[in-house]
């Protein structure tokens, strides 16, 4: 029996089942009499479908049914909805082309869904799919964003110039005026490479129809089952919520890629109703590569105006953002309100103007991936500042210090809409520099030189906005959803507790962290607390987990419900102890009359709530079960400093990350072990983006990096052990003071890595290197830098 509240590195509750092979992921579930679905996908990036012949497939062994887009259209199945619409500069609506779950008329990327085969076994479904005859008229593929705008080939009838929207934020005139006064302007052209998320668990879905009740169930790999129920039920299949259960059991990683409502979810649910048997679909990994939403993919030009002292005067940013072939659920908000709003970074830049063109191409749809917009903003800003420092002769650290928002300036209103509530950027920088042993760097660099290696140091002082989000604010910006969270705390008669949370855990360890909140608040052991998530049949409502929101929004909802529990329990205790409520103190799980030894345990009060013999019936109802819906007042603003030290072999171009230090301000830390783990994982993904990962399409729109053999994810020997620390300033608008930690690693780290490589190779004349900085690319950059000298 241990009480394990806030601040303790409690070992995780969920680990026992995962370590013994008893996790229950969607593909682990086998429903009685289930059939298997195979999705036939487009082999072409862009083609008109002239005809689809399904007769041979339908007659193949074991086949139960074959469906095409025409079947769904005839049945009135709707398109996959987009959950966030932004407006063009002129106030007109963005293009919102239809996104049918199975292609109708055209296919628009390699991987686009063409037909669904339902059969007795997975192999039979797959074999039969090969018998489907699709007659394609291949069309030119639109791949390059700049060319897409002037291409004669249009992906969608409703999107002229293949433009989804042309959006902006900030005061253009004031920013131009700031540039007119500049002593120096630094410029950069930058690409934020397209990434393929690759959570280790491939997506899966099982649809089920209860012929007795008419109820549908969808088991799915989702970060937000209630959102899927709403989107699929209301917009695609027209099933009311009370007839549709969506259950996301254990989910094997997600990183954003399992937020969205995918076609396969609708297909298996609809098909289950048609064939009157459960229908199961599980992605093969190569299918994940061409059907899970990709991330990032920005091309940007930016300019930073500075005065003679290196103070930032203004920032201009122009970005092209790839939407892929269709709008994924939240795609439009990523390069806009999750990106441009972060361009102030941790700096006092007074004027900022950003314009973004979102463009359709014949590629997999792009949506949020760990960080979503904020890594793109951070990478741009931190690379540009690094360049500005080098051009003006300022030290990397000094240029940052001169422009930091001072720690006494909060709340701080940026010129790009956000109001930061707290932070201390000097403190996180100083702590990171100490941890990274900066004072010994010169010697380490000299030692490396003796070995023929180049050492470099790269900084990133970043901020992000998470804990999304105030519903009224995001509603005014185009979100079609609220972004509150719900929690129900159900105290059982003997004093144990079940919490029903709308957050969803897919690796974050909520079953532990949330139980710590309950344990701390009620003074009961962790073992007496159970956290339930992921099932619309059990949980009242939930917006799910993404944008590092679970603790700041979902946790705060739990705290509010807990507050209602203790308020009511105090009243019950006062009645039982024949004391005034104001005299009751609740501490360490005991209700005590102040100044006396008269007390009741939490369990005794809980029992009285359900066996209300001695109970204040005049003022209270029996029971001890409270729900809270919490809508945050503001975003939260984690920030910090990442320092990367690399060693580059100039002969081979190989980059080794020899040390990586992160000091993050994630607000109050509930479980330090879990927070550190989140940062480790985020940093590894950031190093992956910086050095290894990059999605490549060929000129015809075929995905070249379409398997784990071609798309390079970090392996154990690609990354070092990390030095991770925290420095907390508390969030001012939630009671826990928490900010969120899930994305900081992926947001802060990529520019630190690239800045370190540029630092290492500056002496060789290398001025820029793009992500991923593969050995080949680095080697080429060194050779290119040397070439003019050789010629001279």
């Amino acid at each position: 029996m241990t009480v394990t509240g806030i601040g303790a590195s409690v070992k995780r509750v969920e680990d026992f089942r995962f370590l013994t092979g008893r996790g229950r992921y969607t593909d682990d579930i086998a429903r009685p009499d289930q059939t298997y679905c195979y999705i036939l996908r487009s082999p072409h990036a862009h083609a008109r479908i002239k005809s689809i012949g399904t007769n041979k497939a339908a007659a193949a062994p074991g086949v139960v049914a074959v469906f095409t887009g025409a079947d769904l259209e005839a049945a009135g199945v709707g398109g996959l909805p987009c959950g966030w619409l932004v407006k063009n500069k002129d106030g007109s609506p963005m293009a919102e082309p239809p996104h049918p779950p199975l292609a109708q008329g055209k296919v628009r990327y390699v991987g686009d869904q063409v037909a669904a085969v339902i059969a007795e076994t997975r192999e039979q479904a797959r074999d039969a799919a090969e018998l489907i005859e699709v007659d394609y008229e291949v069309l030119p593929a639109v791949l390059d964003m700049a060319k897409a705008l002037s291409s004669k080939t249009l992906l969608h009838d409703g999107a002229a110039k293949n433009l989804c929207y042309d959006w902006h934020l900030g005061d253009k005139d004031a920013t131009e005026a700031a540039f007119a006064k500049a002593a120096h302007v630094a410029k950069i052209d930058i690409v934020n490479n397209r990434l393929i998320p690759n959570a280790m668990e491939p997506r899966a879905a099982i649809g089920e129809f209860d012929t007795a009740t008419g109820d549908y169930t969808l088991f799915t790999t989702s970060q937000n089952p209630h959102v899927i129920r709403l989107l699929m039920g209301a917009f695609v299949l027209h099933i009311p919520e009370h007839k549709l259960r969506v259950y996301a059991p254990d989910v094997g990683g997600a990183f954003g890629s399992k937020i969205y409502h995918y076609a396969e979810e609708a297909i298996v649910t609809w098909a289950a109703g048609k064939v009157r048997r459960p229908v199961k679909w599980t992605a093969e990994r190569s299918e994940s590569f061409i059907s899970d939403c990709h991330g990032r993919d920005h091309v940007t030009h930016a300019e930073l105006a500075m005065d003679k002292d290196g103070k930032f005067l203004g920032l201009k940013v122009s970005t092209k953002a790839n939407m892929g072939a269709y709008l994924s659920t939240f795609a439009p908000c990523v390069p806009t309100y999750l990106y441009a709003t972060l361009l102030a970074g941790v700096y006092t830049t007074p004027q900022i103007y950003c314009e973004v063109q979102a463009i359709f191409t014949n590629t997999v749809p792009v949506d949020a991936y760990r960080g979503a917009g904020r890594p793109e903003a951070t990478y741009l800003l931190e690379r540009l500042i690094d360049r500005a420092a080098r051009e003006t002769g300022l030290e990397q650290v000094e240029i940052r210090r001169r422009n930091f928002i001072p720690s006494d300036a909060f709340p701080y209103q940026t010129p790009v809409a956000l109001q930061y509530d707290s932070g201390d950027y000097t403190a996180t920088l100083d702590q990171a520099m100490t941890a990274a042993r900066i004072d010994g760097f010169a010697k380490r660099k000299a030692d490396a030189e003796k070995r023929g290696k180049r050492r470099g140091l790269g900084y990133s002082t970043y901020i992000e906005a998470c804990g999304i989000a105030p519903s009224a604010v995001v509603g005014s910006l185009g979100a079609r959803a609220g972004l509150f969270e719900s929690a129900e705390v159900r105290v059982h008669p003997t004093g144990s507790v079940t919490v029903f949370t709308g957050s969803h855990s897919h690796g974050q360890g909520h079953e532990t962290t949330f139980a710590q909140l309950v344990s701390g608040a009620l003074g009961i052991p962790m073992e007496s607390v159970d956290i339930v998530h992921g099932d619309t049949a059990k949980i009242a409502y939930g917006m799910g987990t993404y944008g590092s929101r679970s603790l700041a929004v979902g946790g705060e909802a739990i705290m509010r419900a807990l507050g209602r529990i203790t308020d009511k329990a105090k009243k019950i205790a006062a009645h039982m102890l024949e004391a005034s409520e104001s005299d009751i103190e609740f501490k360490d799980g005991r209700f005590q009359v102040a100044g006396t030894d008269r007390a009741l345990t939490f369990g005794e009060v809980a029992l009285s709530a359900y066996v209300p013999h001695n109970f204040p019936h005049e003022t209270l109802e029996p029971g001890l079960d409270e729900t809270a819906f919490y809508d945050p007042a503001n975003f939260t603003f984690p920030g910090g400093c990442h320092i990367c030290e690399v060693e580059v072999d100039p002969e081979t171009g190989t980059v080794e990350v020899v040390a990586f230090t992160a000091v993050d301000d994630v607000g109050r830390v509930i479980n330090p072990m879990i927070v550190e783990g989140q940062v480790h994982g985020g940093v590894a993904q950031g190093i992956g983006q910086a050095l290894l990962e990059g999605c490549v399409y060929d000129a015809d729109g075929q995905l070249i990096t379409g398997s784990c053999m071609d798309y390079t994810m970090p392996r154990a020997d690609d990354v070092p052990s990390f030095s991770v620390g925290t420095h907390a300033t508390l969030c001012r608008h939630n009671s826990l003071g928490v900010k969120g930690c899930g994305e900081v690693g992926a947001i802060g780290s990529p520019p630190a890595v690239i800045n370190a490589i540029v630092d290492a190779l500056w002496q060789d004349g290398v001025r820029d290197i793009s992500m991923p900085a593969t050995a080949q690319k680095v080697w080429q950059a060194i050779r290119n830098a040397k070439a003019p000298q050789a010629a001279a």
Binding site: K11, D250, G252, R285, G509, I674, R715, D717
Partner: protein, 157 residues
Amino acid sequence: MTYSVSMTVNGKAVRGEVEGRTLLVQFLRETLRLTGTHVGCDTSQCGACVVHVNGTSVKSCTLLAVQAEGAQVTTIEGLAKGDELHPMQAAFRENHGLQCGYCTPGMVMSAIDLVKENPDPSEKDIREWLEGNLCRCTGYHNIVKSIEAGAKAMRGG
């Protein structure tokens, strides 16, 4: 055409009817319903499906079920004695060596085989051994710590 296959899995004699193309991992997951062994890729790159075949770690997606005829197979379900975790499992729990849990069975099975070959592996040894196991959550930091601790525990130290 189907084939009859029999083997010993986690100490228990099992048999089943499989197609020639049925992979060992499919036999374990779908026929025996031992779903602790996971499938994370289709190119034998991720290592989520690592089991022990005759005492050696093997990616169970690289073996046909019929090739395991007569073999001794141990999966993640066969490690713990009741509720008592194997020292390597316990080390992963103590050191937060897992997050979403999907790569975990393969990591643990692979780590145990490493310690069998190299009872006192260095950090470098561990990172190189894990070449065949992908994890997307942990950044490997705590997996490496877990395996160091698990190796120590398995040595009896």
